[in-house]
């Protein structure tokens, strides 16, 4: 896989983990005493944070507070609705 395929694959993993986390948040909003859901919430929150940190250290920030390195990169690269010609979202920042 080239660098962009790796980036897309990692971003997809983040989308999956963060979506699961969000589903657990909505479920816990109306089922706050469900221990199993809360345990899953803790697992997915950890996974989401780890994957996000991994992505930001390699490919650039996912939030304006996530800029790493020695220069301002929040405004660099493609935004989520933009595509490379014939390819998927996100390019080098």
């Amino acid at each position: 896989m080239n660098k962009n395929d790796n980036r897309t694959s990692l971003l997809r993993s983040i989308q999956e983990a963060c979506f699961t986390l969000h589903e657990l948040v909505l479920y816990l909003d109306t089922h706050p005493n469900n221990r199993k859901a809360f345990a899953m919430y803790q697992t997915y929150r950890k996974r989401c944070n780890e994957l996000t940190a991994q992505y930001e250290s390699t490919y650039g920030p996912l939030t304006a507070n996530g800029v790493t390195g020695d220069r301002w990169t929040w405004g660099s690269g493609l935004w989520p609705w933009q595509q490379q010609e014939g390819g998927s979202c996100h390019v080098d920042v």
Partner: protein, 199 residues
């Protein structure tokens, strides 16, 4: 306050432009059952809601609706990339082009601009949650109708994701309704306004 995440909730990667389809799908941005109205509805209703759990649910679902607005906008943007004026005209989307070029503006499928009269914030928990459950079903029906006109897998995939979210939100709002009713006199849920009369 809010923080922007620089990613879509679910991927949108559309290879083939289709302005006629964009003209239909834009209704889920600015139409009567669209994501903009959904976000405004829930984020407006939450302030005076008399149950802390329901406030949390309205906040979290209202926030997710903003992410859905971004997905719908991304779909319309990608379906209308690099088109000639003739292609806009052939798709019957030329009237929109004259007013907005290829910019995103919230309108219904019939071209009516977004109107806050498409939702209520009534200050009555039973009234508002009844509307919220109906709103999720109306949005689900709209996505079903969009799918009737859409055979591009790149578009069907994110639309089916959005349709499924309406069903999950309907379920959560049903649970919110039960939480409110549990706080009330079960013999008459409608004897008074739990958001105003029993403070």
């Amino acid at each position: 306050m809010w923080t922007y995440d620089r990613k879509l909730q679910y991927p949108v990667n559309i290879k083939n432009p289709n302005p006629a389809l964009a003209k239909l799908i834009i209704t889920q941005f600015g139409g009567p059952d669209g994501e903009l109205g959904a976000a405004m509805r829930y984020l407006s209703q939450r302030y005076s809601m008399p149950n802390q759990q329901v406030i949390g649910t309205l906040t979290d679902i209202g926030t997710e609706e903003l992410a859905h607005m971004e997905m719908v906008s991304a779909i319309v943007y990608q379906l209308t990339r690099n088109l000639s004026p003739e292609e806009w005209q052939k798709a019957g989307f030329d009237a929109y082009f004259v007013d907005h070029t290829a910019g995103l503006y919230p309108v219904s499928a019939a071209g009516v601009p977004y109107d806050a009269y498409t939702f209520q914030s009534k200050g009555d928990a039973i009234t508002d949650l009844s509307e919220d459950m109906g709103a999720e079903q109306k949005a689900r029906t709209t996505y079903d109708n969009i799918l009737r006109f859409c055979d591009d897998a790149d578009v069907r995939d994110p639309i089916r994701f959005l349709r499924q979210r309406e069903i999950v939100h309907f379920q959560r709002f049903g649970e919110c309704m039960r939480l409110i009713q549990d706080d009330l006199d079960y013999k008459n849920f409608y004897a008074y306004n739990p958001e105003f009369d029993c403070r």
